[in-house]
């Protein structure tokens, strides 16, 4: 109950940001933070809760994004149906490709996901007739207005991106509290034991791969709609690795981790205008420190501090 109140309070605060802040650049940064946080929340379910480190995660965001782009531009479908179909396409691709990748374990699994990520990137980069290739898929529309509420103004798009991020957060929350989530956590701890207790490991892992990929797809569709162009570089290997970093630095296996990681990795450097090259150096250092001293990431650090504080007060 307490956590629900906290969640609503934080959400209300975030919704109120545009009325307090008039600086468009800050809103732009906040939108990007949301757009990175959504796929990271999907990856968190896989990596943080189930222990599946995928190095091709953003390729599934790309599947969602390009599906929606083709549907909107070539098939003239409306934004909202394209958003749903793009998300579902990413989830379906995640289920199908996941079922193959999950035949492998630990580092073999990572390598196979990396290979699929590279393959999907190649398709996006070279299938000129459909994806427009390396030049990028221009003319992706902004979301269609909902009644009088259009998504052209930055503040309004921010509200949309924030709602999607809160939705992804709620999905995480629901999963973690459900029996499904408990099985995932059991699989991360000891897959063989979980199987001996009656868990169909392949089924659960494929399901979480599909769910995580669907969330990636949701983020991908919103991302290209925000930039108004789909480019393969948004979904390449480097971005997939960034997503892993966002989850680990933010706190793998904590609910707030991906959002914190996205704020720190995308939001803060963007706002402080740190050059992209330096960003990776700083993040590499942060990653080493975090794996050494705070294996649960920022989210774990904050939760731990909170518990200590509560104890000293009690």
């Amino acid at each position: 109950m307490k956590s629900l109140i906290g969640f609503v309070a934080v959400a209300a605060l975030l919704y109120a940001v545009p009325s307090a802040v008039r600086e468009p650049y800050l809103l732009h940064v906040l939108v990007l933070t949301c757009l990175y946080a959504i796929p990271a929340m999907g990856l968190n379910l896989m990596l943080g809760y189930t222990g599946l480190v995928s190095l091709g995660h953003m390729a599934f965001a790309g599947i969602g994004a390009y599906t929606a782009a083709v549907l909107m531009v070539d098939a003239k479908l409306g934004f909202w149906s394209a958003l749903v179909l793009g998300t579902l396409a990413a989830g379906a691709a995640g289920g199908a490709i996941g079922a193959v990748c999950l035949r492998f374990r630990s580092h073999y699994f990572m390598i196979v996901t990396l290979a699929f990520g590279l393959m999907l990137y190649s398709v996006m980069n070279n299938w000129d007739e459909v994806t427009r290739g390396a030049a990028g898929f221009a003319g992706v529309p902004r979301p269609a207005p909902l009644g009088a509420f259009g998504f052209g103004p930055l503040a309004n798009f921010y509200h949309l991106a924030l709602s999607a991020a809160l939705f992804a957060f709620a999905v995480q929350w629901w999963v973690v509290r459900s029996n499904f989530g408990r099985v995932l956590v059991a699989l991360r701890q000891d897959e063989r034991l979980a199987q001996a207790k009656g868990v169909n490991a392949m089924l659960y892992k494929t399901a979480v791969f599909a769910l995580g990929s669907a969330l990636a797809g949701l983020g991908g569709v919103l991302h290209v709609s925000f930039l108004r162009v789909a480019a393969p570089a948004t979904f390449n290997l480097a971005e997939s690795i960034n997503s892993v970093l966002v989850v680990i630095v933010g706190g793998a296996g904590t609910l707030a981790g991906p959002a914190l990681g996205a704020a720190l990795f995308v939001g803060l450097p963007e706002y402080l205008r740190v050059a992209a090259e330096w960003r990776l150096v700083l993040f590499g250092a942060a990653l080493v420190l975090i794996t050494l001293f705070a294996p649960q990431g920022l989210g774990g650090l904050i939760a731990g501090g909170w518990r200590r504080l509560a104890r000293t007060r009690a």
């Binding site: 029996n179 956590v185 979980a194 199987q195 001996a196 009656g198 868990v199 169909n200």
Partner: protein
């Protein structure tokens, strides 16, 4: 109809025949000891029966049903429970959750809680019910792993070296617990063990494996004086 029936199981790992036509029946409920020198194929047999590895040939039947090459989770659903030689528990789950974790229990977890606490009390782990399993000593983790088999009311229980690494005091608790559980719900217990004193006192019948098949079976006294068994052990 036998509870468990193993027919001519064969499994090779490279040049080593871990199982070389292993056959036996467990016809009636009881506590059965499964002994044999290292490399006799005991753990391989467990892994085949629980679906972790597939045999090259042969057949496994549970209550007359052919279950050869079934996946582990289906066998668990059918009522096969096991412990592992290396002792496996969920380290992050509390002791109570370690007992309650099983998909076939999830819909009536609340009712099972009292039963779970009773089982923990029987092995003096009740005060650790809410503690993560990682905080337990090795011997206590063994007990927890064993206790966690019983909530789902299995038909066949496979223990892989339950006494290994458990100190003598806990060993008494463990033996008493296993006996008590058998009295409460008599079904088939198959116990692999190297601790002869422990298994000879616990089991009503001993099956001896040697070089991938059954060498001899009988009452504990008969087995401990069998010339063939002594020869197999002394090589």
């Amino acid at each position: 109809m036998s509870v468990l029936s193993v027919r001519a199981l064969k499994k090779r790992f490279g040049g080593v025949a871990a199982l070389a036509g292993c056959s036996f029946d467990i016809a009636a409920p009881g506590i059965y000891g499964l002994i044999g020198p290292n490399g006799a194929g005991k753990t391989t047999l467990f892994d085949v029966v629980t679906g972790i590895i597939e045999p090259d040939s042969g057949q496994v039947e549970l209550s007359g049903r052919n279950i050869t090459k079934w996946a582990p989770h289906r066998l668990a659903a059918l009522g096969i429970a096991r412990t592992f030689q290396e002792c496996r528990v969920f380290p992050e789950f509390s002791c109570l959750d370690n007992l309650l974790f099983a998909p076939r229990l999830s819909h009536r977890e609340k009712q099972m809680e009292a039963q779970a606490l009773r089982l923990l009390r029987m092995v003096n782990l009740e005060r650790y019910a809410e503690e993560p399993a990682a905080t337990l000593s090795f011997g206590q983790r063994r007990l927890l792993e064993i206790v966690a088999m019983f909530l789902s009311e299995p038909a066949l229980l496979l223990f892989d070296e339950p006494a290994a690494g458990v100190n003598p005091a806990l060993l008494e608790v463990l033996a008493a617990f296993i006996r008590r559980m058998y009295e409460e719900r008599p079904c088939a217990f198959l116990v692999v063990e190297h601790n002869m004193e422990f298994i000879m006192r616990l089991a009503a019948e001993i099956i001896v494996m040697h070089q991938g098949s059954v060498l001899e079976r009988g009452a504990p006294q008969a087995i401990s004086s069998s010339a063939r068994v002594i020869e197999a052990y002394l090589g």
